[in-house]
């Protein structure tokens, strides 16, 4: 991971047309090739924050930079080259007559040749196992499939930064696992991944950095393993760490490490505690 940030905010405020600001003074620097989870309660400002990263929202006050460009003067279309945003609700982004057209829409607007667009669409259809639905109107597909279409459409744009807002919602377990493998690959290829999620198991298993939003502010931000152990702040944001971690904490009087985050680690610790006594 290089040190130069791909994304920065300075004193970012945002107010919808209500009295309460949705973001109040967010200062943030996200390194290039980060694998970041943004967590927090419903209404804590997660989606509002990430909508600033692709220019869908412009700060009421403060500034946002993508690489070294301020979003102030940039259009959503210009930022789309760098930042791909997958909406929480796939129906907010789906509108074409066929899945193929839907996925091709973004690449076409990047000014690629028809051949290049076709190649990207075919690749996206295959990567997301959507080839059987290529000629189906995406609107008639089931929710999980519509989600896949919305992610595939962003994938076809090959943005440097991927923002996925609650990607596992509406996906079944197997599809969610498959999706995370794809996301992992994107990260390995050097993309920056920003994941808005409530699924702490997924956050613990995959992401490297974690940011906790609370009432429009950044409550804490750091390496995922470290943030998952900041009990006080997690409680304040009403976030429960993964079940295995809660179990290890409850059994810490017997010698388990309260920082345990995986079944594998718990299992090994159990073995050691057992052996110790025999």
């Amino acid at each position: 991971m290089s040190d130069s940030p791909c994304l920065r905010t300075r004193d970012l405020w945002y107010e919808y047309d209500t009295a309460i600001p949705a973001l109040n003074g967010v200062d943030l620097s996200i390194p290039d090739n980060a694998y970041l989870a943004i967590v927090g309660q419903n209404g804590s400002g997660k989606t509002t924050l990430v909508k600033h990263f692709n220019g869908l929202l412009k700060p009421t006050r403060g500034e946002v930079w993508i690489y070294d460009r301020s979003t102030e003067s940039a259009t959503v279309g210009e930022l789309a080259h760098q930042v791909g945003y997958v909406f929480q609700n796939p129906d907010h982004q789906i509108f074409c007559a066929t899945t193929r057209e839907e996925i091709g829409f973004g690449p076409r607007n990047l000014g690629l040749t028809p051949e290049a667009v076709r190649a990207r669409v075919d690749d996206a259809l295959e990567t997301f196992a959507l080839t059987p639905y290529a000629d189906t109107p995406p609107a008639v597909l089931g929710y999980g499939l519509r989600r896949k279409v919305s992610i595939a459409a962003v994938y076809a744009m090959r943005p440097k930064i991927f923002i996925l807002d609650e990607p596992s919602i509406g996906l079944d377990w197997r599809s969610a696992q498959e999706l995370m493998v794809l996301v992992d690959n994107l990260h390995a290829q050097g993309h920056t991944i920003i994941l808005v999620s409530h699924d702490m198991r997924l956050v613990a298993e995959y992401t490297r950095q974690m940011l906790v939003m609370h009432e429009g502010e950044v409550l804490t931000y750091g390496p995922t393993e470290a943030v998952l152990c900041r009990t006080e702040q997690l409680e304040q944001a009403q976030i429960a760490p993964p079940q295995i971690n809660r179990l290890a904490r409850r059994l810490s009087d017997l010698g388990f490490d309260g920082r345990t985050l995986s079944v594998e680690a718990f299992c090994a610790a159990f073995g050691e505690l057992w052996e110790e006594k025999t």
Partner: protein
Amino acid sequence: MSIISIDDLHYAYDPPLPGGEPIRVLCGIDLCMERGEFLSLMGPTGVGKTTLCMALNGLVPQATGGRIRGSVEVLGCDPRRTPVEALAARVGIVYQDPESQLFCTTVQDEVAFGPENLGIAAQEIEERVEWALNVVNMTSYGDRSPNQLSGGEKQRVALAASLAMMPEVLILDEPAASLDPLGRFQVFEAIGALCRQRRMTIVMVSHDAEHVAQFSDRVAVMWEGRLARVDAPSEIFFDRSLREQVGFAIPQVSALAMALNDRYGSTYRFTRLDEAEEALRRDLVKQQSSP
């Protein structure tokens, strides 16, 4: 008497294009539920979970068309022949996508809409709205527009709107998917309490294995239009071949139990955090105090 009784139910949607093949979704569903039972419905996308939910309140086939055979009985009515609005008072449904059911200008109106259409006295409507918003922890949002709410907050409002109807059967199609962890727990807990205290019968589609294990009496795993297995959580989550075939999430403590069993030859079968803590504590303490 069963509250829900389904016998060899088959259903196919009409072909999307004229002259095409009908889409077979339900292929022989059998299910019996007693009053006050909490059943979770798990299984991959596209196996027919939502269609089955809609067959319970008559939207399938009344609003969707298609071909249906076999029998369905909910609260002694045949949902195919009972007007949807008559059944709506007794069988509540919360959809996957909250936006498909929100349309009023304030949260309060939204939650009051159902009871108002049941012809209930104004005073009682007010009480129900207050109660329902309290259950989903949205009391302070009564005057807000649903449009101004976040995804998870909208889902809470959709749930409150159904609760305010006080249905005897409540069908929930992934109602907690976009809620934050605490909100999700609160919703499950509220529904669990309705189930125990008011003997409400619950059918809930959920992929959240940890909450499913904590709150449901039985889990139905759906696969290719059928119920592959309907059983207690401790049976379902330890059925490896079923899991291999269907692919569904299991609680992290159950994954731990299996890992411990494989590695150390133990025979753990816990599905809930409390059970796991108790069993492991008991065994380790016994081990540590043995000479």
